[in-house]
Amino acid sequence: QSAAIKISHQFPGGTATEGDFRDRLCRQFAAEVEKRTKGGLKFEIYPGSSLMKTNAQFSSMRKGALDMSLVPLSYAGGEMPEVNIGLMPGLVTSYEQGYGWKNAEVGRELNRLLLEKGIVVVSWIWQAGGVASRTIPIVEPEDAKGLKIRGGSREMDLILKAAGAAVVSLPSNEIYAAMQTGAMDAALTSSTSLISFRLEEVSKSLTTGRGKAYWFMFEPLMMSKAVFDKLTKEQQAIIMAVGGEMEALARKSAQMDDSLVAAVYQKAGAKVVDLSDATVKKWQAIARTTAWKDYAERNANCANLLKLAEKTL
């Protein structure tokens, strides 16, 4: 029986200085909090879903069965439709804008809704993504027409469908094989995953998230409110402070991965393309009438969140 705070995530495990930045962030967070609480709080990191299934994390935190998790928030979209805003195509188009949410109305409202569900957001982490393709680069919406693409979320699937793509669904460990055999032509995911899935070996082109992107994902470090409330005021303050400090690391690392993915694909001989402002606007226009509309119609909270988020555009 260990009193350590357990942090679970689905990303590859490493050390505090090497490996996937999301794992590094958890480890550095743990070390810093441990130091500042003088060992009052101890942590155990469970990388690679080694504690529980990815989809069970959010719900377990709500019930107090899991202490902390770093997970793409939109994964909980089935349980809490409001959180789909964390992977809404074209709603966030730059890191500046994404990180601005924390202190904007939209961030405060999202925070409130999550608290209501028993979740405390500790670190606000945003990450850009791109498209790996085994054929032409998918830049303009027209490029997607007729291709078999894995969007990876309901909202991405909606804009891909509207662009005329054939949306395919398959588990993430099959992405590589499906790209290899041609069961799938292209996949949208974060820059970090584009690297860790080694898709450059089976891709001919890459659309990056460097600079501008319509694929931005919110994957915060979160804590169960039930667990948070049991801590002393001082410990709570340290956790929130360290969490906030980690955001700089997250932002820098995510942007490094955006550039690194381009270098990796270039080296593998793939054609690497960046998105222009005008292209992002085109995808945004599609999203507005499909994914955004679909989201706003879920409930009043969703509509309100979307309205507040649009203010940050």
Binding site: Q1, S2, K6, E44, Y46, G48, S50, L51, M52, K53, N55, A56, S59, S60, K63, G64, A65, L66, V168, L170, P171, N173, E174, Y176, A177, A178, Q180, T181, G182, A183, R198, E201, V202, A226
Partner: protein, 449 residues
């Protein structure tokens, strides 16, 4: 309480409950839930069912019933017997040809079914009586079928490989391809041994005849006319269609692995409907009910094993065990040997499905750290688990043989399978020296990893 004490208690509790004879699924659940109750926050008990559901709600895992259905459609229709007869007709002239025919029939069937007992019973029910009629010693006949049946989990599709691919986060398509080379190697080794043993038994029968006139079926000459041989050919055709259809769908980029499972099952049902006229609900009932019986049993074990490994992970038992293994700083190959030995010991009592589910969280991290290719290891582990299927005390395939041929004494069966356990061991050694046996096919077809 230290993690070591906790781990020992967990292991002891598991042993006691398992050996009480409680169904594996419930035993895993009981051990996990009691440890949750005593050593974990009470809120963990509220997440039990959702965790089990999340484990099961994976389309990769749920393709298992469909792979079983495909095997049952062939195995429970005359298709299995026809496949066997056709191969026999063509191979009987080769010395030891009947033995080879049985190995080949097992391999072909294995390439369509996902599990070993299915392969064993489908080919064995025709093969064992035929081999014994032709004078093969009962132990030898039983050994060939028991060993040939184990190919069911090595040649794709394979239920254990599905579980391994999910646990190790490897591509199922790649893992399936990696099983083919070693499968062919084992077919070669088994066939070679079958020829050697059949000739030895033939010589003994011949000597006995010269000595005191004892006759043996070994000495009779069987003959098939060319017309008979040609007539048997079309019976193999459905298998070729099924095999190629599924392979093309998967590796030609037409279907995902789970879609391939559905496609294969449907294709098998359509083939037995066309070729054998099996389509009426009454005819399909035995096929479907045996499929459901096996699937429900397996999936319940899979679901409950999540709870078991969740508790092991939460109490830091698997991590400590893995760290402990790493800290021993064993050389790469000693580490492998220790881990495989553990799999062998588990194989004394547990079916492959449970072995993978219970050991993966502990053995995969050290292996990964030691730099082993996890696709290659998946294949090696599968061959080692094949040994567990036929070695006593609990060898699933031995029980199947006892059902098909109850009059063969258990002692004969066990002595009959032992040489094959040895051959599998040889295959493991060869795989370690020449990893390309497993890895070259996926690299050739799917690119370097």
């Amino acid at each position: 309480m230290s993690e070591l004490t906790m781990g020992l208690m967990y292991g002891a509790a598991t042993l006691v409950v398992m050996f009480s004879g409680m169904p594996i699924a419930f035993a895993l659940g009981v051990v996990a839930v009691s440890f949750m109750y005593f050593f974990m926050p009470s809120s963990s008990l509220d997440t039990v069912t959702q965790n089990v559901y999340e484990e099961m709600a994976s389309i990769t895992l749920l393709s298992i019933p469909l792979f079983i259905l495909k095997g049952a459609a062939i195995g429970k229709s005359p298709a299995g017997k026809d496949l066997y007869s056709a191969i026999h007709t063509w191979m009987h002239k080769v010395p030891g040809g009947l033995g080879i025919a049985n190995v080949f029939a097992c391999a072909l069937f294995a390439a369509m079914a996902g599990s070993s007992p299915a392969t064993c019973s489908a080919i064995g029910s025709a093969g064992i009586p035929e081999m014994r009629r032709r004078g093969y010693s009962p132990g030898f006949a039983a050994g060939i079928i028991a060993a040939g049946g184990t190919l069911g989990i090595l040649l794709p599709p394979s239920i254990t490989m599905i579980l391994y691919a999910v646990a190790a986060e490897q591509s199922l398509g790649r893992l399936f391809l990696a099983g083919i080379g070693p499968g062919v190697l084992l077919v070669g080794l088994f066939s070679g041994y079958a020829v050697y043993r059949a000739r030895k038994e033939y010589r003994m029968a011949h000597a006995a005849f010269l000595n005191d006139g004892t006759t043996s079926a070994y000495l009779e000459v069987e003959h098939f006319t060319l017309a008979q041989k040609v007539e048997m050919l079309p019976r193999v055709l459905p298998f070729i269609v099924l095999l190629l259809g599924v392979m093309i769908a998967l590796y030609g980029g037409y279907a995902t692995p789970s879609e391939t499972a559905g496609l294969g099952a449907l294709l098998a049902l359509v083939l037995i409907a066309i070729v054998y006229g099996i389509w009426k609900p009454r005819d399909l009932t035995p096929i479907l009910s045996s499929t459901i019986k096996e699937s429900s049993m397996l999936l319940l074990i899979i679901g409950m094993s999540l709870l078991y490994s969740y508790v092991m992970s939460y109490l830091h038992i698997s991590q400590s065990a893995a760290q402990w293994v790493v800290a021993m700083a064993l050389s790469k190959w000693v580490l492998l040997a220790v881990i495989l030995l553990m799999v062998v010991v588990f194989g004394f009592f547990l079916p492959p499905v449970s072995i993978i589910l219970m050991t993966a969280p502990i053995i995969l991290p050290p292996l990964k750290a030691a730099g082993f290719d996890l696709i290659w290891f998946g294949v090696v582990m599968t061959v080692v688990m094949e040994m567990g299927l036929i070695h006593p005390p609990v060898g699933l395939n031995i029980f199947v043989i006892k059902n098909i041929a109850p009059d063969i004494p258990l002692k004969d069966v066990i002595w009959g399978v032992m040489p094959f356990v040895g051959l599998m061991f040889v295959a493991v050694i060869l795989l370690c020296i020449f990893p390309g046996i497993a890895t070259s096919l996926p690299e050739m077809l799917m690119g370097a990893k």
